[in-house]
């Protein structure tokens, strides 16, 4: 069996599971946020049970519209707080957490080998730690609140073997955009995507999270990476329980995959996903005629300290082009504080960027930094659908933090390697 099958077998008390089989799995953790939580709570109340199945296994995170951007949002936040208080559930309120997918592992809610559900499609991010994690809707979250169980179809798996060393300013984001370009936006629908190979072993947790985060953009049920020393180092001191042994969390040598894709990143260049589809991927160097009005560095895909460091390295001592508004949003309070200690906030501010508090922000067009008709944004987030960041007549290009920072300086989409050695 592969690692996903092993986790699902264990969660459903079976020794073996096969792709296509429907299992009734025990859930280890479920998360809802401020846009999916209220519906989940309403649904939960309709079920007719008084208490949630396990208050330790539910987390509520306010991140999409924080601080409250309207009275309506404030009312929803209030309702979430009341439910958390009543049920004694952990809630990460404004200023205490940040973007849900960053907060979950940071605060120790993600353990390798567990089944984690989130009422958010990018829940697949936690596969970076060797967990089975997938997104569900609010009603389903309510059912899990009541029962602690979920039916799941064991997915077919695609293995992506990655070798080679990234060139300077080429990042895991470029790799995942390249992969989505290859496989297409429905190339992994219902499937598990497992990343393996020496490049993955050498990759930071931040990079692994970026990869797993975007597997849903090709329709995947989950993305996953076997846990190792890097995983251990990140989680130790964050989780309250002892880490499980990693040995059983490895895919067997004879594990079956529907498809194996081999990728060598040695020649990979900075990539851009052009609107309106995430698989419309082109080399950044070919898009240099695209003028940008807004640059956004943040989101659960690329708002981590490693991402901010690269962006700051490029922005340091330079000025953002007049006419480009640049938003930098650290993915969590922890990342924000670290960026502050390292002097990155100062670099961004001096370059002419606006640094905002941890929130999803412009990523989903519900809050700050929306786009007007005819405007273009280059963004480190994960979706460039029509209307995603505001007007249905605005355009969103997805790229790595290095590419977005370089584009902010020139005012057009820019391969960051173009700026090497010509500090203004």
């Amino acid at each position: 069996m592969n690692i996903t099958e092993k986790i699902l077998a264990k969660a459903s008390n079976k020794s073996v599971v096969r792709p296509g089989e429907i299992v009734d799995a025990n859930v280890d953790m479920v998360m809802v946020h401020d846009l999916t939580g209220p519906l989940a709570i309403e649904a939960f109340k309709r079920i007719g049970v008084n208490r949630v199945w396990d208050k330790q296994k539910i987390v509520i995170i306010l991140d999409h519209q924080v601080p409250a951007e309207s009275v309506k949002a404030a009312e929803l936040h209030k309702m979430l707080r009341a439910f958390a208080r009543e049920q004694k559930i952990r809630i990460y309120d404004v200023g205490r957490g940040g973007i849900c997918h960053q907060v979950m592992p940071e605060k120790g809610h993600v353990l390798p080998g567990t089944v984690i559900l989130g009422a958010d499609s990018h829940t697949c991010t936690y596969g970076a730690f060797g967990a089975f994690a997938t997104g569900i809707g609010s009603t389903e979250a309510a059912a899990v609140f009541a029962t602690g169980k979920i039916w799941l179809k064991v997915p077919e798996a695609i293995k992506i073997n990655v070798t080679g060393q990234f060139q300077k300013y080429v990042a895991p984001k470029d790799l995942i955009l390249h992969i989505i370009g290859l496989l297409s936006v429905d190339g992994a629908t219902y499937k598990s995507v497992e990343f393996a190979g020496p490049t993955i072993r050498a990759m930071s947790i931040a990079g692994r999270m970026t990869l797993c985060n975007m597997t849903v953009e090709m329709g995947a049920k989950n993305g996953i990476i076997e846990p190792d020393e890097t995983t251990r180092k990140f989680l130790e001191g964050r989780v309250s329980k002892p880490l499980p042994p990693f040995e059983p969390l490895k895919s067997d040598a004879d594990a079956e995959y529907e498809k194996v894709v081999d990728i060598d990143v040695s020649d990979l260049t900075p990539q851009v996903a052009c609107p309106p589809s995430v698989d419309n991927v082109k080399p950044a160097s070919e898009m240099s005629n695209v003028q940008v009005d807004q640059a956004f560095i943040g989101s659960c895909t690329n708002g981590r300290i490693e991402d901010l460091r690269v962006a700051a390295e490029i922005l340091k001592g330079r000025k953002i082009k007049e006419g480009v508004r640049t938003l930098v949003i650290p993915a969590s309070q922890e990342v924000y504080l670290q960026a502050l200690h390292e002097g990155l906030i100062e670099i961004f501010t001096e370059a002419g960027a606006m640094v905002c508090g941890s929130t999803c922000g412009p990523c989903l067009g519900g809050h700050i930094g929306l786009l007007a008709a005819g405007e273009t944004c280059v963004s480190t987030s994960n979706r460039n659908f029509i209307g995603r960041m505001g007007s249905t007549e605005a355009k969103v290009y997805l790229a790595s933090p290095a590419t977005v920072a370089a584009s902010a300086i020139t005012g057009r989409i820019t391969d960051p390697r173009e700026l090497e050695g010509n500090k203004a």
Binding site: I22, L35, T36, P38, L39, E42, A43, R46, I47, G48, V49, H64, Q65, S70, K72, A73, L76, G118, A119, D120, S121, T123, G135, I136, G137, S138, T139, E140, A142, A143, A146, T147, W151, V185, D186, T189, Y190, G219, K221, S277, L364, G365, G366, R383, F385, I386, G387, R388, T392
Partner: protein, 165 residues
């Protein structure tokens, strides 16, 4: 479970941001959500759907975010069933969970045009196109999913099951 209605057809990769744009996610009344159903593609959709329609999609219908408000908006706008070549998995589960009949149907995109009169029988796994006088096979859903749909959604199903326990 038989559903009838006129077809309203969409293309491949219809994402949840066009089915229900993110800015409406603060709305909690499904009837309010319904007013914005498909706004990203066709603002006239709620008007068309009023009389009860069947939405036909291509590949990967409902891709993108986990927002349950997307199938909810469709349901309350008057959509009685969604058939597509394939679905994004969270949308598919959400539709079932809120009691919106849904299933895959290979060949549906090339065998149905906008406005065709359809009859869908999910138990039998058949869709009849009355206008074109042909029928197609619909992927049969497992009995427990048909049960959730018959109950009107997961919550109603759970209420019933927890009571009979």
């Amino acid at each position: 479970m038989k559903v009838t209605g006129k077809a309203v057809k969409f293309e491949n990769n219809i994402d949840t941001d066009v089915i229900l744009p993110g800015k409406y996610l603060v709305l909690t009344d499904p009837r309010e959500l319904a007013k914005h159903a498909m706004e990203g593609l066709d603002p006239a959709f709620p008007e068309k759907a009023k009389t009860g329609v069947i939405v036909i999609g291509g590949r990967n219908f409902g891709c993108g975010s986990s927002r349950e408000q997307a199938p909810l908006a469709l349901k309350y706008a008057g959509v009685r069933c969604v058939l597509a070549e394939s679905f994004a998995r969270i949308f598919f589960r959400n539709a079932i969970n809120i009691g919106l009949p849904i299933s895959e149907c290979k060949g549906i995109a090339s065998n149905v045009e906008d406005g065709d009169e359809l009859v869908v029988d999910l138990e039998a796994g058949i869709v009849e196109n009355l206008t074109k006088k042909r029928s197609l096979q619909v992927t049969k859903l497992p009995p427990f999913i048909l049960e959730i749909l018959a109950d009107g959604g997961l919550i109603e199903n759970l209420r019933r099951r927890l009571k009979t326990k």
